[in-house]
Structures are given as structure tokens and as C-alpha cells.
């Protein structure tokens, strides 16, 4: 039996009639056309479907759309501002942290959640923050370097600003 649900995604409100068995991942990709969030294992084990819910990373394949009332969802599409890439996106792009790109949206959002609460993470803290995101291409080295570089440049910009 469909129910009307209002979702807040990337600052916009969407009102949809949904069955209870629809996951947040399905809403984002199939109902809202936001296909930046990827479908990997569909079971919470790979992190490709990672989105931010009230600033915290979650596997969107494990969240019922019905359970997102009152929450702010951020997808990878919500990171760029006015046509400008988020510093994390730029760093991933410029430092070769993206190969096939499938893990990248989830990886970047996990990194964002980390940097939002810890602007000066150690390498260990970065590894822990992305420990729920699997990458089969890169071997993680450039991903970690891109996150470190972004943290550094954000701190530098804050100092000069």
C-alpha cells in the first residue's frame, strides 16, 4: 500500500508515493534519477551505495525510504556548488584516485563525512573512515592521498582566509 513520503535530498524536497519495500537507494536512482549513488552488492558490504544521512554515512541499500522522514540526505550530486567541484572531487580527479569510478561517489562521501568532523585526520583515521568502501581498481593508495591532500588544502585555505 503506497504512502506519501517527503524526502529531503541535496537541499530539495521531493514528495513521492512509495511502497514500503522501496529502499533509499532505489528512490534516489530510479525515482529521482540521481544515479551517482551506485548499486554494488545491495547488501551493505561494499559501500558503493553510500550516502550521507544527517551528515553520517549510511548504506542506502539498507535504508527504507519510509524511514528517512525528517532526515537530510546528501548524495554525490549534492557536493558540487554552482558548477564548481567540491575540493574532494577535484583532488580525486586530479590525483588519479578514480579508475572505473564505481566506488568513487561512496568513497568521496565517506571522506567528506570524515573531514567535516575531523579536518586534520591521520592516515589511520582516513583508512578507518573509508573502511566500509571497497575499491577493486586502485589499491586505495591514491584515494588516501587525495583525501590527505584535500584535508591539507582545506586547512591552508582556512588559514589564509
Amino acid at each position: 500500500m503506497k504512502e506519501v513520503v517527503s524526502l529531503r535530498v541535496n537541499g530539495e524536497t521531493y514528495t513521492l508515493a512509495l511502497e514500503p519495500n522501496v529502499t533509499l537507494q532505489e528512490v534516489l536512482r530510479e525515482h529521482l534519477g540521481l544515479t551517482g549513488t551506485k548499486k554494488g552488492c545491495d547488501g551493505g558490504e561494499c559501500g558503493a551505495c553510500t550516502v550521507l544521512m544527517d551528515g553520517m554515512t549510511v548504506n542506502s541499500c539498507l535504508v527504507l525510504a519510509m524511514a528517512t522522514r525528517g532526515k537530510e540526505i546528501t548524495t554525490i550530486e549534492g557536493l558540487a556548488r554552482g558548477g564548481h567541484l567540491h575540493p574532494l572531487q577535484k583532488a580525486f580527479h586530479e590525483l588519479g584516485a578514480i579508475q572505473c569510478g564505481y566506488c568513487s561517489p561512496g568513497m568521496i562521501l565517506s571522506a567528506k563525512a570524515l573531514l567535516d568532523r575531523n579536518p586534520n585526520p591521520s592516515r589511520m583515521e582516513i583508512q578507518r573512515a573509508i573502511s566500509g568502501n571497497l575499491c577493486r581498481c586502485t589499491g586505495y593508495v591514491k584515494i588516501i592521498e587525495a583525501i590527505e591532500a584535500t584535508a591539507f588544502s582545506i586547512r591552508e585555505a582556512a588559514r589564509e582566509g
Binding site: N21, D42, G44, G47, T50, N59, C61, R128, S131, G132
Partner: protein
Amino acid sequence: MRLPKFEYLRAGSVEEACAMLVDESTTALPMAGGSDLLVAMKQGIATPERLVDLGGIPGLDAIVEREGTLRIGALATLRKIADSPLVQQQWPLLAQAARRAASPQIRNLATIGGNVCLSRRCWYYNQSRFWRQSRPPCLRMGGAQCYVVAGSDKCYALHCADTVPPLLALEAKVKLVSASGERIVALDDLYSDLGPDAIHLKPGEILTEVLVPQPPSSGFGVYLRYSDRPSISFPLAGVAAIVKRGRGGEECEDARVAVGAVCPKPLRLRRGEEVLRGQKLNRAVISEFVETAAREVKPIPYIYHLPEHKRRVVRNLLLEAVEKAWQETKSC
């Protein structure tokens, strides 16, 4: 994998949730974080016609201390418990375990109630319909055989929750609420020895709170976990140990050791604890402890992790956990 269709109800209170769960016209399951339940539903191994979402019940995720007892609402997420200053300072063993479970994403959703009540796991059971179609159904799925213990007429699925060995070592209790009242049960008494139902709950009964008494003062707790990867996966073995030095500073006044994920039922290793109590923890005593404690455990294989291998792992974890805990109490 699409979720099957179900009726979705949001409970506004524990009483309402209990009523929603007891309905003869439908099969109903409670949902907390949903991080395990939804996977089981996608795989076709959990088939409730109705889900009762407990997430909207106010106050059910509180973490407070009252008269020395830590009271954690069943809906408190593992993330919230790991980050709680109260838990980190006074019950650091529990914070340790909550921080190690699963992945960051899952810890943001998974609850302690869900972890304590975790459905028992088996390599031949926790698989998609497609995978399970390749062989006749196992006992738990209504078939005639167990693929883990050949010839058995019982299900040997394992309880793999990270927070449970620490909670056992801390001698935690849980509060269970139903329409006919509430009861407080020691975690040690909660679990069945064998079988797919880890916990015997009355119809419409919900676990609402985990109650953790003060740990032994100036005792030190360590949780060690063995898994196929450092994150995401469930543990293949988990050991929690608390040791406390006596007044003299030389002997072990108290020791509590628990193991999980190796057997269907998480266990306190009381005979091993007896070996440590009152003794100076030198190499010989700890070796005797490891041998005695390891013998209390009858490991069940998990795919290629055969019982001998698991026993070796448990010995190593017991040794490391007790040595580390003993070292740390030195510096207290």
C-alpha cells in the same frame, strides 16, 4: 535484489509496538536499524508480512547512567555507543567492541538491541535464494540436513555479535517488555544453546534496554576480534577479557572472559577464569588458563575455518587478550 512486499507500521511507543507485533492475522518482525534484517529479507530468508519500525519511539536510544548502572536503550546505534564519552570513560570495553563492529556505515544504523538479538549465522543459510537453490534446503529452511554438522538434527548456526562477549564479561542484563509485563534477564541466561532461535522471546516481546553494571574497579578490559577482513565482515571469533589486580598488585583478584562467534551460544569461560583468580599472572598460569578456557569451547566450522583452526585462533586471542589486559592494569 528487491525487498518483498510487506506492511510497514511505525510504532510511537513500546506498548504500541508490542501490540503491532502480536497479530494473529499476520507474521510480524520488529525493525531497529534494519542493517541485518533487510539483508535477510532481500535474500528471502526472513519473510515477515509486517515490519514494525521501532525507530520512532522516543527515548529508546538513550545512553545514561543511573545509580552506577549503564542503561542503553535498545535503539542506540553502535556509533553512538562508541562515541559516547560516558561509555568510553566508564565502560571502555564496550566502546572498543562497538567501534570494531562491521563498517562505519553500518555502525551508523545498527543498534545494540539488534546486535544482542542478532539472528544466528551460517555460511549455508545467509545466502541469496539463487545460491541456496543449488542444494536441498538445510534444516533451518525446513529441509532434512545440516550442512555444517553432517547427520545432525539440530541447527548449528553461530551467534556473531561483537558487543555480546564484552556484555557477557560485564555481566549485563537486558529488559524485555511485552503486553503482559516486563522482565529483566541476565544476558548469560538469554541465549539458547543451539538452534536457529538465539533468544526465546514471548510473542510480542521486545528488548528495550541493556543494563550494564559497573565493571570491576581498576579492572582493564580488552576485546579482540578475528575476521577475514579488518572491516565490514562479522567476526569469526571474538574474545573479551577483563582482569583486575588485587590490593597487593601482584595477584589477579578477578577475571572475566567471554567468547563469541565460535559456537552457537556466546560463552563465559568460567573454568578458565578460576585458573586466573588469586594467581600471579605469569607465563605458566596464563598458559594453563588458555588451555582450560579453550577446552570449554567446542568450535563449529565456518566454511574453510575448521574447528582446529578456530580453536587455535581462540587460544591466540585468549592469550593476547589476557596478557594485554594484565599489562594495562599494571599502569592503572
